[in-house]
């Protein structure tokens, strides 16, 4: 076979040698191709992992899903601007199942996966359960919607972009007094006791200072179900003029529907917790007139908010709730802190405390040295199936 030659340039190559060389190259190429096809893929830039932990399923999933989506939108916005320290952010979401155990397991899983911080939880009980575990692992937690005052004023690796619910309780208590309500019933979900207790205590104190009186106190567990009829009976028996419901949107909607069905309309006063579209979807017209004390309003005219709402609707197909907005702000301020630490978890706590004033989406805010924020309180109601500000408040 050596008498067959291939002329290449000025060199004659025996065709056997050319074929041999080509065979080796071809096989090598095939192996490389096969490896590329079959093996694990190549890695691009090493992303910075953020963990989102919230209830993605269950009766309170509206908070978690909105929060996750808001965080997702913020991550995409940061990546569009080049990421953090030239590294993209990647959001890992984990369902905390709306339970303490679930919260701990979800956060542990996220930290093991390499998350530099936890965005969550969306409810105070899960945050209180999981924070010690996260802090012990050296992690940082920043919550969009955990409003319990039990976490205020502490340097505990915990940050939040929502104020504690005590302000809401005070505002609502004073509002109730201004509305001429003298006797109210308190109904609260013990599954989120830390949130429920602090809000109810603040309301009770402010209402009492304004001359009001608590005539009944109904506690229930959303996971085990509530007997709304019994609540209404208790309120009627005690002469309550209104019900302050500290519960999720689904539960408040059910309460409102029950009142409608019994043709009993008592004013419902709520904190921010049930202030989601789900209350509209489930409650229908029954939820008209509910008053919420919140730091979030859908009638926010800020360009930043309008732009955020537009982008959220375009991205996910439905309007954002306060959970999405707060989650967006939480990721934004976290990204700012990560820029200082080069995308690493080390030094993230002090970096967060030093982020300073933030433009925000809902309103400007700044994390204090304890990781808390102070924000204005609004009173919002539902009118004709839409959220609207309470006139004059």
């Amino acid at each position: 076979m050596d008498w067959i030659f291939i002329v290449f340039g000025k060199q004659r190559w025996p065709v056997a040698d050319v074929a041999a060389f080509g065979g080796c190259v071809g096989w090598l190429s095939l192996l490389v191709l096969g490896w590329l096809v079959l093996a694990s893929g190549c890695g691009g830039d090493d992303p910075v992992l953020l963990g989102f932990s919230g209830q993605l399923t269950g009766s309170h999933a509206d908070l978690g899903v909105q929060g996750r989506n808001g965080a997702t939108l913020a991550v995409e916005a940061v990546n569009a601007r080049g990421g953090v320290a030239s590294r993209p952010l990647r959001l890992l979401a984990s369902d905390d199942g709306d339970t303490a155990r679930g919260a701990i397991d979800a956060d542990t899983t996220l930290l093991k996966a390499g998350a530099v911080a936890i965005i969550g939880h969306m409810t105070s009980s899960q945050t209180l359960a999981a924070l010690p575990v996260v802090a012990a692992a050296g992690g940082v937690m920043i919550s969009p919607t955990t409003a319990t005052p039990e976490l205020s004023g502490k340097k505990d690796n915990f940050f939040r972009v929502i104020p504690s619910n005590e302000a809401w309780g005070v505002a609502l208590g004073r509002y109730a007094a201004r509305q001429g309500l003298a006797r109210v019933c308190l109904a609260g979900d013990t599954d989120n006791a830390s949130y429920t207790d602090s809000f109810q205590t603040a309301f009770e104190q402010a209402f009492a200072e304004a001359g009001g009186e608590l005539v009944c106190h109904y506690s229930f567990s959303s996971s085990r179900g509530a007997d709304w009829g019994a609540l209404l009976d208790q309120a009627a028996d005690s002469g309550g003029q209104a019900i302050v419901a500290t519960a999720a949107a689904r539960d408040v909607a059910a309460l409102a529907q029950t009142m409608t069905a019994r043709n009993t309309r008592l004013p419902l006063l709520c904190p921010t917790w049930p202030y989601t579209r789900e209350i509209l979807a489930i409650g229908g017209r029954s939820v008209d007139g509910i008053v919420f004390a919140t730091s979030y309003s859908e009638e926010n005219d800020r360009p930043e908010f309008r732009e955020f709402a537009r982008r959220y609707r375009e991205r996910f197909g439905w309007p954002p709730s306060f959970a999405a907005a707060y989650a967006y702000e939480a990721v934004t301020v976290l990204a700012s802190a990560l820029s200082r630490t080069g995308g690493e978890a080390r030094g993230l706590g002090p970096a967060l405390a030093a982020t300073g004033p933030q433009t925000g989406v809902i309103s400007p805010f700044a994390l204090d040295e304890s990781g808390d924020v102070a924000r204005d309180t609004f009173l919002v109601t539902i009118k004709d199936g839409r959220f609207t500000s309470v006139a004059g408040e």
Binding site: C24, W27, L56, F316
Partner: protein, 663 residues
């Protein structure tokens, strides 16, 4: 078993020239198969996505159709809707989980199963041209939280018959329609909110896939995309559900696509590898038995020191041995050639190689000088032209004898006539060199210039001849002079009356005569360095018989051997013999008594033994040669000492004198 070097060469050659091209073809075939299979799968999956999207569209269409069919029947007159009507409709509509009748003002008038009744329907339908209403966003059902979509159709009265479509059931039907082993079917709305996913948990968590590459490709209008997810490569295809903007996205792992082609290639590779191994093993076995082992035996038979040490380079053990041997051989050849050249060219004699037909093949410089021709001139001519014709005939005859095998080497003198006419006497030594088959190859001529030597020899011979002549003349004259002296002594003895003086004179005369005989012997034989002892003794004995013995009847009996003696020893020996024989003749026998005197001369072991004896009266008691006052005996003693010999006198049936001396 460790492969031998030649086996490795074979394996490598097979690998490079057979396997590698085969691998190239296999790689090309694999690439072609993968490409074809890929295109087929891509096309099939695209069709599948379109089919599934059409199925979803059909399912939605059927759901709408059911609503459209019954919307006029549930509230035909615009009156209240009977719950039984909705229940009946729900019973025949397994796709729906709930049916609602919504009044024109948006209030839920009836709901089966019950719920939201009397409440405002919280959702806004997107108005459609054809009267069909759809809320594309999936949301958890208010009944049990399962993901649902609401469909609605508007009645003529303005009311809306709405149904809660069970997306989980839709997903199960999709999966049953197209079970993709290893793959998955995903469906989402126009915003990426999951509707169907193999992992129900992801649907339950209302996961959004709007940030995934496949969704982006679907929104961009692409039909398929290869993307990476979860550390694997996937081929995703896009099916668009008409009228609602949903996407059905079947995805298949790329490894599943290429695996069939790779499997075929792997099988072919295994076959090819097996064939290569089998062929290689058989070839190596044959090579080992028929080539390597014989070569190894031959390599082992080579002298020690051949080759490159322990196995040479490792890869060519036998060849290294051969190479070393060949190198040694080449070095030896070069060395021998150099030796030959130096010896041939620098020889002091002319040397040449001549072909059997007489042509000069190779000549050295000395030969050229001898014959007076240049190398080129000589090589262009034949032998005949260089040697004198008279000598050539003899040389040619000898050459022919050599060619015939009767003579291998001969030497002969001849003459060469140089171009300048000078004749050169040369000594030719010719030997025949035969080839491997014994055939004559060429003659080796060694030509020695002996001109000067011959001239010197001639001069020497002439000088020698002259000297011989001179010596002859000298010895002749000495002999004559001694004879004259002897004659004078004889005359003086005749002239004197003193008997004692006369005796002395006669004794001296015989002595001188014996010396003259020596010289006579020298010039007569022509050998001036030595004398024939037998001839001299016989003449001396004859002379003494004549002068002393014949009258008394004493005769000499001789026992002589052919012995030659130098003149330095012959002269004293002659004098001793003269004394002893004279003494014997005179005194061995009484006056007038005849007898013999035995004279013997022997040479043995470099010692000459001369005996003179008789059977006469013997020696007197107490006789001693040294002790006697006789001049003759004194001469005998002295001359014996001169000869460095010994003389003994004894009685042995008479007197016996024995003289021994080294020669």
């Amino acid at each position: 078993m460790r492969p031998t070097p030649i086996s490795r060469i074979l394996s490598r050659s097979l690998l490079v020239r057979l396997v590698a091209p085969g691998l190239l073809l296999l790689a090309l075939m694999a690439a072609a198969m993968i490409s074809m299979h890929w295109r087929t799968m891509e096309r099939d999956n695209t069709r599948l996505a379109a089919t599934l999207a059409a199925f979803v569209a059909t399912a939605l269409d059927e759901a709408f159709h059911i609503l459209e069919t019954f919307v006029g029947r549930v509230a035909p007159d615009g009156g209240p809707v009977r719950p039984e009507a909705l229940s009946d409709l729900l019973a025949v509509s397994p796709a729906f989980r709930r049916l609602l009748w919504i009044t024109a003002d948006g209030t839920v008038a009836r709901a089966v199963p019950s719920g939201l009744q009397g409440a405002a329907f919280p959702l806004d339908f997107d108005n459609r041209q054809d009267g069909r209403l759809l809320l594309s966003r999936p949301l958890p059902s208010p009944i049990d939280g399962r993901l649902v979509v609401y469909l609605g159709v508007r009645a003529a009265t303005g009311g809306i018959l709405a149904g809660e479509l069970d997306l989980a059931g839709l997903g199960e039907r999709l999966t049953q329609l197209a079970p993709l082993a290893g793959g998955r079917i995903v469906a989402c709305d126009a915003y990426g909110n999951l509707i169907v996913h193999p992992d129900p948990r992801r649907v339950a968590e209302q996961t959004n896939i709007g940030d995934t590459p496949l969704f982006a490709a679907a929104k961009a209008g692409k039909g398929h995309l290869v993307y990476q997810s979860g550390g694997r490569l996937w081929l995703g295809t896009v099916g668009v559900v008409d009228q609602c903007g949903w996407f059905v996205l079947p995805t298949v792992p790329v490894s599943d696509l290429v695996a069939p082609a790779l499997y075929t290639v792997a099988v072919l590779f295994v076959f090819m590898a097996g064939a290569f191994v089998l062929a290689s093993a058989q070839l190596r076995k044959a090579l080992r038995q028929q080539v390597e082992e014989p070569l190894a035996r031959f390599a082992a038979s080579l002298p020690e020191g051949s080759g490159g040490g322990e196995g040479g380079s490792g890869a060519f053990a036998e060849l290294c041995v051969f190479e070393g041997a060949f190198e040694d051989m080449a070095r030896g050849l070069v060395r021998n050639e150099r030796l030959f050249r130096s010896s041939f060219e620098q020889a002091a004699v002319g040397m040449a190689h001549v072909s059997p037909d007489g042509q000069w093949l190779l000549v050295n410089e000395r030969l050229c000088q001898l014959v007076g021709c240049s190398r080129q001139e000589l090589l262009g001519h034949s032998l005949v032209e260089a040697i004198v014709p008279q000598d050539m005939a003899a040389v040619e005859a000898r050459l022919q004898e050599s060619l015939a095998g009767r003579l291998e080497t001969f030497a002969r003198e001849g003459r060469c006539i140089r171009p300048d006419g000078v004749s050169v006497q040369v000594n030719l030594t010719v030997s025949l060199v035969r080839g491997d088959m014994g055939r004559p190859d060429y003659f080796v001529f060694v030509v020695e210039d002996v001109t000067e030597r011959r001239a010197a020899e001639e001069a020497l011979r002439q000088s020698l001849e002259d000297k011989e002549l001179l010596l002859r003349e000298v010895h002749h004259r000495v002999k004559n002079n001694l004879q004259v002296i002897s004659s004078l002594f004889f005359l003086q003895a005749e002239a004197t009356d003193n008997a004692e003086a006369r005796l002395v004179l006669l004794e001296s005369r015989t002595r001188i005569a014996s010396m003259a005989l020596v010289h006579e012997g020298l010039y007569r034989t022509g050998d001036f360095g030595r004398i024939d002892v037998a001839d001299y003794v016989s003449r001396l004995a004859g002379q003494l018989e004549n002068s002393l013995g014949r009258s008394g009847g004493v005769r000499c009996k001789l026992g002589l051997e052919p012995i030659f003696l130098s003149i330095e020893k012959a002269a004293p020996l002659g004098l001793v013999l003269n004394e002893l024989i004279t003494n014997a003749i005179k005194h061995a026998y009484g006056p007038g008594v005849s007898g013999e005197v035995q004279v013997a001369v022997r040479l043995a072991g470099g010692v000459m033994r001369v005996t003179v004896g008789d059977q006469g009266q013997g020696l007197p008691p107490g006789f001693s040669i040294e002790g006697t006052e006789s001049l003759g005996m004194q001469l005998v003693a002295n001359l014996t000492r001169q000869l460095q010999g010994e003389v003994r006198a004894e009685n042995a049936g008479g007197a016996l004198f024995t003289l021994t001396f080294p020669v």
